[in-house]
């Protein structure tokens, strides 16, 4: 991919992000922030790429692996914690229906 197209991708991605959340009920601010935060751990892909292409460079393997660890801590932890928060909201209606 050449640089120009990547810049377009950046621009369109940013616009999409601006449009995605317009009105958010305050209830969801914390879960939304936490969920978006988990998504920002997408750097795990960069870490993976580094590890795959690192062979036979051991320092890079190590850096990549640590980076992957940090990213996955963010991603997995982030999604779980978001789910924990959201589970509390969704529990209510089901109880009512019973």
């Amino acid at each position: 991919m050449n640089f120009d197209s990547l810049l377009w991708v950046l621009l369109l991605g940013s616009l999409l992000g601006l449009e995605l959340i317009g009105k958010v009920p305050p209830t969801l601010h914390t879960p939304l922030m936490s969920g978006a935060n988990a998504i920002s751990g997408i750097t795990m892909l960069a870490a993976l790429t580094a590890i795959i292409k690192a062979e036979p460079n051991s320092p890079l393997l190590l850096i990549g692996s640590i980076s992957l660890g940090f990213a996955l801590f963010n991603v997995v932890g982030g999604f779980f914690v978001t789910d924990r928060m959201l589970a509390m909201f969704s529990r209510k209606p089901t109880k009512k229906n019973k």
Binding site: M1, F3, L6, V9, G13, L15, G17, L20, I21, G22, V24, P25, P26, T27, L28, H29, T30, P31, M33, S34, G35, N37, A38, I39, S40, G41, T43, M44, L45, A46, L48, T49, A50, I51, I52, A54, P56, L62, G64, S65, I66, S67, L68, G69, F70, A71, L72, F73, G77, G78, F79, D83, R84, L86, M88, F89, S90, R91, K92, K96
Partner: protein
């Protein structure tokens, strides 16, 4: 395009679509939980797509597999452990910590890519070295700020770090400018081929992150975390340029932009501009010079017993929960009290200020944990007209969000902040540990009003005493 290229392209496209739908869904109560799972699935899909692509093209060496598995296992396990164990009251600092680690990840990848260029494009020179270096520098700069800033934010929310007076001196702007200029210089040197200046860049941007976050008061921390969350998206997008991945750029940009919007929304709720949050320092430090400070002249303190008697006679009660409730972990005890009142036919509603607690939505999460029905949580705009028809308001560890100064006193730093009009109710009980000011450090005129009574004590202790008193009165026993 070869077959692996096409497959990866399709998977990436699908992942972006699902991530976008995920973020969208997270902003609606009905779909939020599914949306979160959808986003998690999209992330998994993107990993599978990447691995499949390399398996189908260059292959993945065994040694790489080993490091991938070690890194993933350790990171995921620790992340899961923390996510499952952490109490709901410390959500904000947990998000800050996760966010910081995301920034650290971008920082490390960028350092790795700089020291040991692994991107064929960069190696072969098809990507201009200049652009490659700029992407790496941006990724390091933003990643380091995200990391150090988030860790400071977490430490402050945890109470490990206070906001000492020396952080408020004007000279801090100068120091931060020095850090910023140093980062910029390191950035330029790096692009001109001075390899060792990468460490200067790492150190200067880390210090900048600390320097900017440290003077910010605890009340503004949610905004800072939200902003840092946006930064970590930008760091991810920059890392996308480094490894030449469109998926990374789109996802990073989306999070960056969405985080920015959320930050704006939070600022509005607190009547603060982003600039004043970032550079204004802690509100309490300014509050002392404004007219908002002053002595209380007409404080009425009352016992738990009186409070119980008034509650028993009420028809309609509004509870205003605040950070004090969260700190005291009193949400379950509160629920017991309100259950008793409800059993006696008293209508109970919870008034949720947009920034009650330490993060928007924080109170909703806590009260939901204590099984408070969702319909009883009312947002400020809906509940405000209901105060005049309310017999008793229980203010639990909230302060600035119920300060009438924000409506009446134009000289007050709080002026213009949307507040709950609790003083309109017949009786207001403020359950509070002492007369200390709220996070803004400003005197609360509510406490001086004749219809306000203070019940001093820790929220949990007072509430459990209240349960005892209500029991003695026979409330809620059938």
């Amino acid at each position: 395009m070869t077959l692996p290229d096409i497959i990866k392209f399709v998977i990436d496209l699908l992942a972006v679509l699902l991530l976008a739908l995920g973020i969208k869904g997270l902003s609606k109560v009905r779909s939020a939980r599914e949306a979160n799972i959808l986003a998690a699935f999209a992330m998994l899909l993107s990993v599978v797509g990447l691995l499949a692509y390399y398996l189908g093209t260059s292959g993945i060496p065994t040694q790489s597999w080993a490091w991938i598995i070690i890194g993933s296992l350790v990171g995921s396990l620790l992340g899961t452990l923390l996510a499952k164990k952490v109490p709901m009251t410390s959500m904000p600092e947990t998000v800050a910590l996760f966010n910081g680690f995301g920034g650290m990840s971008s920082l490390l990848v960028a350092i790795g890519a700089f020291l040991f260029p692994f991107n064929e494009g960069a190696k072969a020179g098809s990507i201009e070295p200049f652009i490659n270096d700029v992407s790496i520098s941006v990724s390091i700069f933003v990643g380091a700020i995200t990391f150090s800033g988030s860790i400071v934010a977490m430490a402050k929310l945890q109470g490990w770090l206070s906001t000492p007076g020396w952080t408020q001196v004007k000279a801090r702007h100068f120091v931060n400018i020095v850090f910023g200029v140093t980062s910029l210089l390191a950035f330029v040197y790096l692009i001109y081929g001075n390899i060792s200046s990468i460490w200067l860049l790492v150190i200067a941007s880390t210090l900048l992150g600390i320097g900017v976050t440290l003077p910010i008061g605890g009340a503004d921390m949610p905004v800072v975390i939200s902003l840092l969350n946006s930064y970590s998206g930008i760091a991810a997008a920059a890392a996308g340029f480094v490894v030449d991945s469109q998926l990374l750029i789109v996802a990073g940009a989306m999070v960056g932009a969405a985080g920015l919007i959320l930050t704006q929304v939070m600022c509005k709720g607190m009547n603060r501009s982003l600039v004043s949050v970032l550079f204004g320092g802690s509100l309490s430090a300014q509050g002392t010079t404004s007219s908002g400070s002053g002595e209380y002249t007409n404080i009425t303190s009352c016992s738990v017993e009186e409070c119980a008697l008034t509650l028993e006679a009420a028809n309609r009660v509004i509870v205003v929960p605040g950070y004090g409730l969260a700190v005291a972990q009193a949400q379950h005890t509160l629920r017991e009290v309100t259950k008793k009142l409800e059993q006696n036919g008293i209508e109970v509603v919870y008034a949720i200020h947009p920034v009650a607690g330490r993060m928007p939505g924080h109170m909703n999460v806590l009260l939901a944990e204590a099984d408070v029905p969702y319909e009883q949580l009312k947002e400020m705009d809906i509940v405000n007209p209901e105060f005049p028809a309310t017999d008793v308001v229980l203010v639990l560890g909230a302060n600035d969000v119920v300060n009438p100064q924000a409506k009446n006193d134009k000289s007050s730093p709080l002026y213009g902040m949307p507040v709950l009009d609790v003083q309109e109710a017949r009786t207001v009980f403020v359950i509070k540990r002492g007369m200390s000011a709220g996070y803004s450090g400003i005197k609360n005129d509510l406490f001086d009003l004749p219809n306000t009574s203070m019940v001093f004590g820790d929220a949990k202790k007072v509430l459990s005493e209240l349960i005892g008193e209500l029991k003695d009165l026979g409330v809620g026993e059938k």
